[in-house]
């Protein structure tokens, strides 16, 4: 078991023949991901990496039966690509591209919701079910198979968190990088119940950062609905107000969205909150030995 994706999941790649799409599709194939083809307009009928290329997502879905799309198209085309996937009946779009206009994501997400398609990202490392299926750009080798679910806004903190967990002798069931943009697809609140329901997952690591209130919503949700142990780290305790810290969403405006506020809310919900990512592994170990 795992959440959202496993070794049976059929994946297509939008932006398949581009530089990034090619490189990462190759890496995913090497990891064992069942990539069944890709989409690049005007290259339909060709072969790439030994797989069929289609002009449209509809063609790709009809021929391959894919349910997930990994999206690498340039920022200006992300909104269009996500809506095309939703229209073609894709169930989950994993959007890796960084720098898509917020308004495009807003529109695309509204449409995807209507079409019942889930989105991970944009501007994220993707999703990985350890030793089964990697849809994204994370280094696969650090994700050993195990019982810890991981949800993170930040790409490299996903790696750091997974690494910490594995160093303590545990492993990862599924890890999801949700991205740090102002508007994202699946968030903690949607992913937490999936991990709660997954028999393979015994504990959950949640990595957040300053800006927005997704972590506050997650805290309220955990309090009411989650029985498995949760360990959390919020990046940006030392970030000054009003300064954007890299991610478009990582900015503290006024009194809202501070690390302190989020850490308090999570603690109050019974979550083990650590002050440094270096403490994640140990905290997981302690939480599971209770």
């Amino acid at each position: 078991m795992s959440i959202l994706v496993n070794k049976e999941t059929k994946v297509i790649v939008q932006g398949f023949t581009g530089k990034e799409g090619t490189f990462h599709a190759e890496q995913c194939l090497a990891y064992g991901t069942k990539i069944v083809g890709g989409v690049t307009p005007n290259k339909g009928g060709q072969e790439h990496l030994g797989l069929p290329v289609f002009n449209t997502v509809k063609d790709a879905v009809r021929t391959t039966g894919a349910t997930v799309s990994m999206i690498f198209v340039p920022p200006a085309f992300v909104g269009d690509a996500v809506m095309e996937a939703a229209d073609a009946g894709i169930e989950l779009a994993v959007v890796i591209t960084e720098g898509a206009p917020v308004r495009d994501i807003q529109m695309a997400k509204a449409y995807a919701t209507k079409k019942n398609m889930k989105i991970i990202g944009p501007n994220c490392p993707g999703i990985i079910t350890a030793e089964e299926c990697k849809i994204g750009i994370m280094p696969g080798n650090i994700f050993k198979k195990g019982n810890i679910g991981l949800i993170s806004k930040s790409g490299t903190l996903t790696y750091e968190g997974a690494n910490q967990v594995c160093k303590e002798g545990f492993g990862i069931s599924t890890a999801v990088g949700i991205g740090g943009d102002p508007i994202i697809g699946l968030s903690y609140k949607q992913l937490l119940p999936m991990f709660e329901a997954d028999p393979e997952t015994k504990a959950i690591v949640m990595i957040g950062e300053i800006g927005g209130d997704l972590e506050i919503q997650a805290a309220a949700f955990i309090k009411e609905n989650i029985t498995k142990p949760v360990v959390a780290f919020i990046a940006g305790q030392t970030a000054p107000k009003g300064k954007r810290m890299g991610h478009a969403g990582a900015i503290v405006s006024g009194s809202a969205g501070t690390a302190a506020e989020k850490m308090e809310a999570l603690k109050a919900a019974g979550v083990t909150v650590v002050v440094s990512p270096a403490e994640i592994g140990k905290a997981v170990k302690e939480a599971l030995s209770k």
């Binding site: 920022p75 200006a76 960084e98 720098g99 898509a100 206009p101 917020v102 308004r103 495009d104 807003q106 529109m107 997400k109 509204a110 490392p125 750009i137 994370m138 280094p139 650090i142 993170s152 806004k153 930040s154 790409g155 490299t156 903190l157 790696y159 750091e160 690494n163 740090g180 102002p182 508007i183 990595i207 950062e209 300053i210 927005g212 209130d213 919503q217 780290f233 990046a235 940006g236 305790q237 030392t238 970030a239 000054p240 009003g242 300064k243 954007r244 810290m245 890299g246 991610h247 478009a248 969403g249 990582a250 006024g254 009194s255 690390a259 002050v275 440094s276 990512p277 270096a278």
Partner: protein, 391 residues
């Protein structure tokens, strides 16, 4: 990206959002010429900087004669204006906006921002115009009306009615004017990929007209490629030169006031590294994300920018390679030591893609002030020690 008041008002005018008439000036003589062209007998001389709180800082003054326009413009152009948003160092004023005086009967607040929780733009309005809206939100939140507008349907009549009734506007003519104002402002917001629009105050004149007396706009940087006219409004003097230089190399840099320079890949890990340094008793000197395309040149540039800060006593390089390959970073560090005088200890932690090759590269180079660290905690501890001058 943010723009000046006079630029925001140019955009407003294009969409028919009413504003007082005004002309921007670079010199006191231009200011006088502008005042003459506008006519009338009363003008407002307004400093053009991005930060808010200009009025309280002495950057907005009323002139009752052309002589006074000249005197005030000479005082304001070239002054260093300090407001609650500029920081104590203030901001040099290079331009003033000369605006016709307005007959103010009432001051309102009107803004549009993205509501991240609702995932749509929200119109915010208040009868408490002219005050800092953060204070109103804090002290009397019931005095702020919020109206979310779903872009799928756009600004409808019911949004407008919610606005005017919420603000207690009962005169049908005034209701119509304000609804029209808000509807046009919504179009400004959507058409231009704005992140934020704020009009404080939005005034009602003696004759029942509504005018944007101020105007602030911020834009989604990711969407600027499709708005060359807005990109052209960028004022480089409003941006931190180090942050801008870093941006040209694909680095994201923010200076802070501590002692340990940080170079990290990924915004989250960069913040996590700062937090860990702080937790271990040190202070971070900066946020620096080298991004996913880091190479020898960008790493060298990163060192150069970090070392410009005289407070830096040690540098912590913390890389968890995913897309970024550690061997490239290692070569970048070697390159940097050749190009830049790296006079402080550099603590290096490299993990992930090609970490072993990278460790080998650094070991073979045998540079005395490079200290290897095994993981994040070890690296942060060593950096804190090094910054204190301990071995």
């Amino acid at each position: 990206m943010n723009i000046h008041e006079y630029q925001a008002k140019q955009i407003f005018a294009k969409y028919g959002v009413p504003t007082p008439r005004g002309i921007v000036a670079n010199t006191p003589d231009e200011a006088v010429a502008n005042a003459k062209e506008l006519g009338g007998s009363i003008w407002v001389v307004k400093a053009q900087i991005h930060a808010g709180g200009r009025g309280l800082g002495g950057g907005v003054k009323l002139a009752r004669s052309l002589d006074e326009v000249k005197t005030l413009a000479s005082e304001i152009i070239g002054m260093t204006l300090v407001t609650h948003q500029t920081g104590p160092e203030g901001k040099l004023v290079q331009k003033v906006y000369i605006e016709e005086g307005a007959d103010i009967k009432d001051e309102l607040y009107l803004g549009i921002v993205l509501d991240r929780a609702k995932e749509m733009p929200v119109i915010m309005a208040s009868t408490e115009g002219g005050m800092a809206i953060e204070d109103v939100a804090h002290d009397t939140p019931e005095k702020i009306i919020k109206i979310a507008v779903d872009p799928a349907i756009g600004f409808q009549g019911f949004h407008g009615r919610e606005l005017v009734f919420g603000l207690g506007i009962t005169n049908p003519d005034e209701q119509k004017k304000l609804i029209n104002f808000a509807s046009k402002l919504y179009k400004v917001y959507m058409d231009n990929d704005a992140e934020m629009i704020e009009i404080n105050p939005l005034i009602k004149t003696g004759s029942g007209d509504f005018l944007a007396l101020d105007g602030k706009m911020g834009f989604d940087d990711s969407a600027l490629y499709r708005h060359p006219d807005i990109e052209a409004m960028r004022d480089l003097s409003e941006e931190d030169p180090d942050e801008r230089e870093a941006g040209q190399y694909g680095l994201s840099y923010v200076s802070l006031d501590g002692e340990i320079g940080c170079m990290v890949n990924g915004a989250g890990l960069a913040m996590g590294t700062m937090d860990t340094i702080n937790y271990m008793g040190g202070t971070p000197a900066n946020f620096l994300d080298v991004g996913g395309k880091a190479n020898a040149e960008t790493v060298a540039k990163g060192f150069e920018i970090i070392l410009k800060n005289p407070n830096v006593k040690a540098i912590f390089v913390n890389i968890f390679g995913g897309i970024v390959r550690c061997d490239r970073i290692a070569n970048g560090i070697l390159e940097a030591t050749k190009l830049v005088d790296v006079h402080v200890p550099v603590i290096v932690r490299l993990d992930g893609t090609n970490a072993e090759e990278a460790t080998e590269i650094l070991k073979n180079a045998n540079i005395s002030n490079i200290i290897a660290a095994t993981d994040l905690a070890d690296g942060a501890a060593k950096a804190v020690k090094a910054a204190k001058g301990e071995k």
